[in-house]
Each structure stands twice: as structure tokens, then as C-alpha cells.
């Protein structure tokens, strides 16, 4: 695959997948952004879907001629512990949040507001960690501010939401992945789903030899059906629930379960969940609990997904769930909870199977394993759905459109 100086795929590499017309369209939009600088700010460069996405869209938009940069705020372990609690609380999970937690947040916000340089004409701020950057708005009057919320805040802990919404309302616009994730706000709420890079190490096609090598490295039997879930070890991803579902599948089908997880730099809770997972799995045969750190291991995750017979995402709460996007793109039958952004990606019985409980997940996994033709049809539909709606080129297009739309009135706009 041809690559540019950075070793990453360049725009022309996407033409065989999305078509030349799509790339031409991106160039046209980029030309309309001449003279504007775009800045993205989040809390980590490695780990998690946001960092992965920014690592790809920034160089590609630069290649399109867009003046763009990506910056990361500084934060310490205490700050990330608090923002992790905020994250859970926004998802509606009970958390004990003290006044001290808010103080820790505000203290770090004061520091990052001092140290983060705002260079953009249009600034995309991702998630709650850097949200207080909006306090710079008064001194930077010409800057347009967009808050990109990657999580589902539809049923939040009201105390945390009230604290954060005071910042949110200062933005010029917000971006959510689904209408289901939104809250009543005075600012416009644009709906832009995230996307995957079909040419990244995590998603590109792999040879049979590469896949076999990875299975052998982790001692996974290539002849026995593989059920897998790829996710951080996080309560909200319900890895324990996946083990419970696997136990029910195992009564009838001699399969194996592969849990593939990592811990993101801003997620201090992972160790605790991993211990619970190991405890629950200890007496059940054929469960592989893998700890694969995000750096330099994308090909292994890719291989494990491609080797899977069924991919599961049994989350209790989700953001958009890019792991589902990845699984569908690889033309795999997917069983996933009907939460967060998953129903946007899977229309039940069209492009995969949705579940609501452990028993439901187990039944649907068995349906796929026992009906290969049905599984193949769902998987093909799922892959096509991703191709048309959730690849990186669509995300780049919508980011540019949003930047262009700020200040425009009316529902029909001629560019």
C-alpha cells in the first residue's frame, strides 16, 4: 500500500474503497476552508477511540490543504480519576462525587487554560476533560468553539451535568454521535457519528498467515469457533456479562471466548475490572483474557477480530462503540447491546443482532454459530452499511461541513 512520508496511508489510497468522487468532494470542501485554522483538543494522544480518530483525520485533512492541528491538555492522575468518575456519572452510573473532586477538576482546568495555546479559528474540544477551555472565549472573540461529546449524556448524574453544562452553554455549537445522547441545550446540536479508518493497522486486510501467527502467539485454537469482545476492561463494557453469556453458549457449542482489552491512559479503573474478569472466568474452560496495550498492537487486535466467528459488544452503556464499527467492517456477524450508538450501526436482523441481557446475547450468539448462511448475510449487510456511512472520509466531510456551516442560516445552503 502506498504511504506518505509519515508512513500513514494517503488520500489516494482511499480511492479504491470510497471512490474518486468522494475524494474530489473532500478537496472541494477543503478549498472552501482556505484561510481558516482548525484546532482539535482532547486529553490523550494514545488509547481510546477519540485519540485513534484524531490521529488519522488530522494528517488527512492536512493533505487536503486544511490548516489543522491537534493538541492535548495536561492533567495528572488525580484529575483523570475525577474525569473517569464524571464519565461514569454522565453515563448514569452511580458515583460518589465529592466537592473535592470538583475542586481537583477546576484546579487542573486553571492550569490547562494557562498552558494550552488556542491557535484555531475553529476549535473542536473533545469530551468533558478539556471542556473548561471555553473560559478562553472572552479573550478570543473571533474563535468559534465546538464541543464534541463522544458519550451518552441522556441520563446523567444531574450534579455532574449541571457542573459541566455551565461550560457547554458557552460553546457556539455541540456535536453528538446520536440524538439519543443529547440533552436540552440552548446551542445547536449537530449529529455527527465517529468513523473508522479502513486502512489503519486495526482495520486493513490481513493475510491468513498473519492471523494464524497471532492465534498461535496467544494459544488460541484456530479450529474452534471464536467468540470475541474487544474493549477496555471497564464496568460499562460488561466483560463479566460476556463471560456469563459464553457460559450459556458453551452448554451447546464447543466454542472459545477471547476477551481483548487494554487500559487507556485516562482510565485508572481498568485493573480492578480485570481482576473481577479473571475471578469470574477461572473455572470456565476456553476463555482467553488478553491484555493488549494500544501501542503497536493494532494488527493483533485486527487479526483476532478477523479470526472470530462472532464478535460481541455487550456494553451496559456506550458512546458510539467504534469496536462494533470495526467488527462490522470486517464482515463479521455481530451481537451487541442496543445501547448508545450501537442501534445506529446495527438495524436488528438487517445488519446484525441486538441484545438486551446476558441470556439474549447467548441465544443470538448461538443463532449465528448454528446458521452460517444467516450469519454471512447479516455480516455482509453490516459491512456495506459501514462502507457507506461510517468510514473516515465521511467524518472528514462532516467536520469540514460543520466548520463551513457556522454562521450560515437556513436549511439549504449553496457553497
Amino acid at each position: 500500500m502506498p504511504k506518505n512520508k509519515t508512513g500513514l496511508p494517503c488520500l489516494k489510497d482511499y480511492i479504491p474503497i470510497v471512490g474518486e468522487d468522494t475524494i474530489e468532494e473532500l478537496k472541494l470542501l477543503a478549498s472552501r476552508l482556505k484561510g481558516k485554522k482548525i484546532q482539535h483538543i482532547n486529553s490523550t494522544r494514545v488509547g481510546g477511540g477519540v485519540a485513534e480518530m484524531l490521529a488519522r483525520i488530522v494528517p488527512l485533512m492536512r493533505e487536503l490543504g486544511v490548516d489543522i492541528e491537534w493538541d492535548v491538555i495536561e492533567g495528572n492522575a488525580d484529575f483523570f480519576s475525577v474525569t473517569k468518575k464524571f464519565h461514569n456519572a454522565l453515563h448514569g452510573r452511580p458515583e460518589i462525587i465529592t466537592d473535592k473532586d470538583f475542586d481537583v477538576y477546576l484546579e487542573t482546568a486553571r492550569t490547562y487554560n494557562r498552558t494550552t495555546k488556542i491557535n484555531g479559528d475553529i476549535v473542536f474540544v473533545h469530551d468533558p476533560q478539556p471542556i473548561a477551555l471555553i473560559q478562553n472565549k472572552k479573550k478570543l472573540k473571533d474563535v468559534k468553539w465546538i464541543w464534541r461529546c463522544h458519550i451518552d449524556v441522556s441520563t446523567p448524574d444531574e450534579r455532574v451535568w449541571d457542573f459541566l453544562s455551565a461550560f457547554v452553554e458557552g460553546y457556539d455549537a455541540s456535536m453528538f454521535s446520536s440524538p439519543k445522547f443529547t440533552r436540552p441545550l440552548k446551542i445547536p446540536q449537530f449529529l455527527i457519528c465517529p468513523a473508522i479508518d479502513p486502512l489503519s493497522d486495526k482495520n486493513k486486510p490481513l493475510s491468513k498467515e498473519t492471523i494464524a501467527k497471532v492465534l498461535s502467539k496467544y494459544g488460541i485454537d484456530s479450529k474452534k469457533p471464536i467468540i470475541s469482545q474487544v474493549s477496555r476492561y471497564d464496568y460499562l463494557k460488561d466483560p463479566v456479562g460476556v463471560i456469563d453469556a459464553f457460559k450459556l453458549v458453551k452448554r451447546y457449542v464447543d466454542a472459545q471466548l477471547v476477551l481483548i482489552g487494554n487500559s487507556a491512559a485516562d482510565d485508572p479503573e481498568g485493573e480492578e475490572v480485570l481482576a473481577q474478569v479473571r475471578e469470574r472466568a477461572k473455572d470456565i474452560p476456553d476463555i482467553h483474557i488478553l491484555l493488549i496495550e494500544p501501542e503497536n498492537n493494532d494488527i493483533e487486535v485486527n487479526a483476532l477480530q478477523r479470526a472470530s466467528s462472532v464478535i460481541v459488544q455487550k456494553s451496559l452503556k456506550e458512546g458510539f462503540a467504534l469496536t462494533v464499527t470495526e467488527a462490522l467492517w470486517k464482515e463479521k456477524p455481530v451481537v451487541a447491546s442496543a445501547v448508545g450508538g450501537i442501534p445506529l450501526q446495527i438495524k436488528n436482523m438487517y445488519s446484525g443482532l441486538l441484545c438486551h441481557c446476558v441470556e439474549g446475547a447467548a441465544l443470538k450468539i448461538r443463532q449465528f454459530l448454528n446458521n452460517p448462511a444467516f450469519a454471512k448475510r447479516m455480516a455482509h449487510n453490516g459491512s456495506m452499511h459501514i462502507k457507506h456511512n461510517f468510514l473516515l472520509t465521511r467524518l472528514i466531510r462532516e467536520h469540514m461541513l460543520l466548520a463551513l456551516s457556522l454562521g450560515q442560516k437556513g436549511d439549504i445552503i449553496t457553497l
Partner: protein, 227 residues
């Protein structure tokens, strides 16, 4: 005729949509119809075409979003079928289409013994779309140019000239048919391009169907001879 063609070439445009939440949600068919009465036309257009655009690989694709929600979420199969079988191509304005949707839902509610609520979290979310219209480099002066461009243009350009132009921009007909009649002077070919129901095709199949109608018409030979 050659002067008219030079003056009025067919300029292919494309459109891109940016979705915006209205914040409005319906829990049941009664709330659905009440909100439908008041939302901007761009909301109606979006929900009647979203599956056509998103599921362009499926044929037949799922019906419009109102029908899908009524059948799959509310479990109101009869209402879902009525909404799904609205013949959108018979409506030249969103106003008329909206009235038809309202008539279908109110007709159903009139006879309904109970009104079912959607489970929490599965309410119907009203979304509006902002459409950005952009020129493409493709221009046609005759049928041959048009077919060549049709083979290459983005699928959203076909979507724009067939669906948006007719209903959202209220041009009354699709742009291809209109140009072929008014600029090239081929009313029979224009009528053929207006007579089929584009809602029963995937967008890729629609592209091919339009090309087939043009190249298999007597006007194709006549127009090529004029070049």
C-alpha cells in the same frame, strides 16, 4: 437548438447533509403526528429519505423512518405498513407529503383501541438536515455528455437531481427529465425519465436505470447524430 444547449448546459451538482437534533421526541403515534404538524419541512424530508441514503446497498431498503419506528419500536405493524407504502413520488411538495403522513396517522388513531408507548430510550427523535449544495466539475451539453457524467458522478449527485430537486426544491420533476425536455427538446424521453418510481431502486441501480433509459431511447441516436 444548438444555441440553447450551449446557453443551458446541464451542470451536475451534489449535496451533502449535516444533521441537527431538533430536541423533539415522540413516545407514541399521537405525539408523532402532533410534532409532524409543526416541524420544518427539512425534518419531514430527512425522515422520509434517511434509509434510502443510508441503506443504499439494500434492495428493497427498509421503508421510511416513521414506518420503521411505528412497526419495529411501537409494534404498530398496520400503521407501519400504511406509512411505509406512502407513494412519495406522487407528491411534488413537502407540504403535500406532510398532509398525507398526517392523514395516515390520524386515520389510524381514529380507529385505534389503544395507543402504545415506545420503551424508554426508544422514542422517535426528530432530526433536521441542513443541505449544502455544491457544483461538480461535470457539465453536459448533450445526451452523450450526460451519460458519461452519470457514470462518474457521486451517488449523492443522482440523489440531489432526482429526489431533492423534485421534492425539497419543489421543481416538480427530476432535473434530468426537465433539462432533456426544455433544453434538448425530447419530451418523450423526458416523460420516460419521469414515469418510473425511483424510490424502489437502490441509488446505484438508479444510476444505471437512468443511463439505460437514455441509451436505449430513439433520441439517443438522434442526439448523437447531431453532434
Amino acid at each position: 437548438m444548438p444555441d440553447k444547449k450551449k446557453k443551458n448546459p446541464f451542470c451536475f451538482c451534489t449535496h451533502i447533509e449535516l444533521r441537527e437534533s431538533t430536541g423533539l421526541k415522540a413516545r407514541n403515534a399521537r405525539e408523532l403526528v402532533n410534532i409532524i404538524k409543526d416541524v420544518p419541512g427539512s425534518v419531514i424530508y430527512y425522515h422520509m429519505h434517511v434509509f434510502l441514503q443510508q441503506h443504499q446497498f439494500l434492495s428493497p431498503e427498509p421503508p421510511n423512518a416513521f414506518a420503521y419506528w411505528a412497526a419495529k419500536i411501537l409494534g404498530e405493524d398496520v400503521l407501519g405498513e400504511h406509512l411505509g407504502s406512502i407513494d412519495v413520488y406522487q407528491y411534488n411538495t413537502i407540504r403535500a407529503l406532510r398532509e398525507k403522513i398526517i392523514e395516515v396517522i390520524e386515520g389510524y388513531l381514529f380507529n385505534a383501541k389503544e395507543i402504545r408507548n415506545a420503551p424508554q430510550g426508544k422514542e422517535f427523535d426528530f432530526t433536521k438536515s441542513r443541505t449544502f449544495i455544491m457544483p461538480t466539475p461535470y457539465i453536459a451539453h448533450n445526451l452523450s455528455d450526460m451519460v458519461e457524467a452519470l457514470k462518474k458522478i457521486t451517488i449523492r449527485s443522482i440523489d440531489f437531481h432526482v429526489f431533492n430537486a423534485r421534492l425539497r426544491l419543489e421543481r416538480g420533476t427530476n432535473d434530468f427529465s426537465n433539462w432533456i425536455e426544455t433544453t434538448l427538446g425530447y419530451p418523450k424521453l423526458a416523460a420516460k425519465l419521469e414515469r418510473f418510481d425511483p424510490y424502489t431502486y437502490t441509488l446505484e441501480n438508479l444510476r444505471q436505470h437512468i443511463i439505460d433509459i437514455i441509451v436505449n431511447s430513439p433520441e439517443w441516436g438522434i442526439d448523437n447524430a447531431k453532434k
